[in-house]
């Protein structure tokens, strides 16, 4: 494999690095546990799918969970998306099945930050590409709960805590965008995200841009309608 970045990134005066870490590259170029043509080679008892082709990211996860031990024995996945989306799903699948398999309870606690940490970080503008992994996993585990008549264990899907102090979730940021916030600054103004925990601001900015370009691709783009 060709090594791309031998020396550390030059960080711009705006503080945004660009290149991928060696771990990201390894998982992107040699993805682990991916499923070919939508048919896992193992028996599975949970499937989850999130995302949409129009947004540029879509993920599907298959799980085999041992009911006796409550551990994830096998994990397969498919991803439509860029290098960081592929790498983060691959690394997540490794995290789930290594060392005899992760306990379901622990798997439900996996956050995007855990995936990021294991990947050795991502360029900040690519962070949103790794948001789907934990969501697809949660969906697959819920599917397993339903399939194995453990309905009481089904957990709520979706929101993720961004500002832990003010309890602001990604749903709140999405809502702010849907209700008219057209920039990072406007999102902050509406949600007060970062007021409690300023360290979450880069993530808020990422999410703001992600949702703005997702829902308002034309307002956000260079081309404006004719007058």
């Amino acid at each position: 494999m060709k090594k791309l970045n031998k020396s550390p990134d030059v960080i711009s005066f705006k503080g945004t690095p660009w290149l991928y870490s060696g771990i990201v590259k390894e998982h992107f170029l040699n993805p682990k546990n991916f499923v070919i043509k939508g048919k896992p080679t193992f028996k599975f008892n949970g499937v989850g799918m999130v995302g949409s082709p129009a947004c540029g990211d879509m993920m599907k996860i298959w799980l085999l969970i041992d009911q006796k031990t409550d551990r994830i024995k096998k994990c397969g996945w498919q991803t439509f998306g860029c290098a960081s989306a592929i790498a983060s799903t691959s690394v997540l699948s490794v995290m789930l099945v290594e060392k005899g398999g992760m306990k379901v309870e622990k798997a439900l606690e996996i956050s995007q930050m855990d995936i990021l940490k294991r990947l050795g970080g991502l360029p900040s503008r690519k962070i949103h590409c790794s948001v789907l992994g934990d969501k697809a996993l949660k969906a697959a585990i819920n599917d397993y709960f339903r399939n194995t008549k453990q309905g009481s264990r089904v957990v709520a899907e979706g929101s993720r805590m961004i500002d832990k102090v003010l309890k602001i979730t990604d749903k709140d940021i999405e809502d702010a965008v849907l209700h008219g916030a057209k920039s990072f600054e406007e999102v902050v103004e509406r949600t007060k995200a970062g007021k409690g925990d300023p360290s979450c601001l880069p993530l808020v900015e990422e999410l703001a841009h992600f949702y703005i370009s997702k829902y308002f691709p034309c307002e956000n783009c260079a081309v404006k309608p004719n007058r």
Binding site: V35, P53, Q78, C82, S84, F210, S213, P217, C221, N226
Partner: protein, 404 residues
């Protein structure tokens, strides 16, 4: 990448010639003296300075023969981007008393689009002409858009992404018809960076008042551009200082760059007759190879009215950034319009302007051939691309409906 069962090509296959080109050894050779011993400032009042001045004027004369204009109508700049900025902002500053309306297209290079957006913030009104699904502007829409307050029309000669060639001469006639006889407004500017070496640059036949060119797309040096400025066209400079370039662009001249650029343009325009058919044949071979080996793709841009070295395709069910990075591992350099590859995380404005849906834009790939591209490289690229696409599709959970 063992499962792909391919080895990287032994040398780099460069298929991103629309981004920039390698420097021609002949060009480098004429530049060399000016980077070494002949370092004189063209503004110097001694023979050593005059020699540098003469080299620049010679470069101006060479370029003017290809543009069918006077040598004194060529302004050297630092890039194509700077030339675009100079044409647009320069016109706006000098002529705002006559009107504040500008017309351009939705598929311009960011050097034009973002400059127009900056002017919008400064109180100018900009009309962005739409294009059809092949990327062509509608001349009737252009005619309707021209108002008495219109001071500038800027339309690119050939699009850098999808390769569509715009009807500049026809647009020039429409603008001439509507032109104010007293002020000469609106001016007509074209960004011809992608057209050099492929199309005629005769400014009179095209009917343009300003034309942007640069060195780095025609096997010349980077960091040098030119703006053709028709006599009596009034623009204000963007860079003030020592009155170089007839007071339009200050700064000590990049003598080596200018000399190299003129040589590159000369070589490009002179070799057009043989190079265009050669590269077109190779391009067609690459495209038909791809079409035979990969299903579910669409070709973007105009089927015939397009740059001879350009292929732009959308490959269903996969994402372009991943594809480009895989190709790079095989020593193939390409480009994509996918949002994930851009710094703004926005899908290409050109692909949106030709009404491609987002899920299809994500899988776009641009391959632009150059004069060093060989048959062997084309064959390897077809085989490798097919394998990588098959791999990424096998990994992809989606199966979009194919409607063409």
């Amino acid at each position: 990448m063992e499962y792909l069962n391919i080895k990287p090509f032994k040398t780099r296959i460069y298929l991103d010639n629309a981004a920039t080109t390698p420097i021609d050894p002949k060009v480098l050779k004429v530049m060399e003296p000016f980077l070494k011993n002949d370092f004189g400032n063209p503004g110097g009042m001694y023979s050593f300075g005059y020699e540098a001045r003469e080299a620049i004027d010679h470069a101006r004369r060479i370029i003017s023969t290809h543009l069918n204009c006077n040598a004194g109508e060529i302004i050297f700049t630092g890039s194509g981007t700077e030339s675009d900025n100079l044409a647009i902002i320069g016109t706006a500053k000098a002529n705002q008393k006559y009107g504040k309306h500008i017309i351009t297209t939705k598929i311009e290079h960011p050097a034009v689009l973002e400059t127009c957006q900056a002017l919008e913030k400064a109180g100018f009104d900009v009309t962005y002409l739409s294009v059809d699904k092949n990327g062509l502007i509608d001349l009737k829409e252009l005619e309707k858009a021209i108002k008495p307050e219109t001071i500038l029309v800027s339309i690119m000669y050939a699009n850098n992404e999808i390769g569509t060639i715009e009807p500049i001469a026809e647009a020039g006639k429409i603008i001439a018809k509507k032109r104010n006889k007293e002020t000469g407004l609106p001016y007509f500017h074209t960004d011809a960076c992608q057209a050099a070496g492929v199309l005629s640059l005769d400014v009179n036949a095209l009917g343009v008042d300003m034309m942007t060119l640069n060195g780095s797309k025609i096997y010349g040096p980077k960091g040098v551009g030119a703006l053709y400025l028709r006599k009596n066209t009034k623009i204000e400079p963007l860079i003030y200082g020592g009155h170089q370039e007839f007071g339009i662009r200050a700064g000590t001249e990049n003598v080596a760059g200018i000399v190299g650029f003129a040589t590159a343009l000369d070589l490009a325009q002179k070799s057009m007759k043989t190079e265009v058919p050669r590269i077109k044949k190779l391009r067609d071979k690459l495209l038909s190879g791809i079409q035979k080996s990969i299903k579910k793709i669409i070709v973007n841009g105009h089927p015939t009215q397009r740059l001879p070295n350009n292929i732009h395709i959308s490959i269903f069910d996969i994402e372009g950034e991943a594809l480009v990075l895989y190709l790079d591992q095989m020593n193939i350099c390409t480009g994509t319009g996918s949002a994930c590859s851009s710094k703004m995380l926005e899908a290409s404005h050109v692909l949106r302007a030709i009404s491609l849906p987002h899920e299809i834009i994500h899988g776009s790939l641009r391959l632009t051939l150059g004069k060093n591209t060989t048959e062997k490289e084309i064959e390897y690229t077809v085989a490798t691309l097919a394998k990588i696409v098959a791999h990424l599709r096998a990994m992809s959970p989606i199966n979009l409906k194919y409607t063409r």
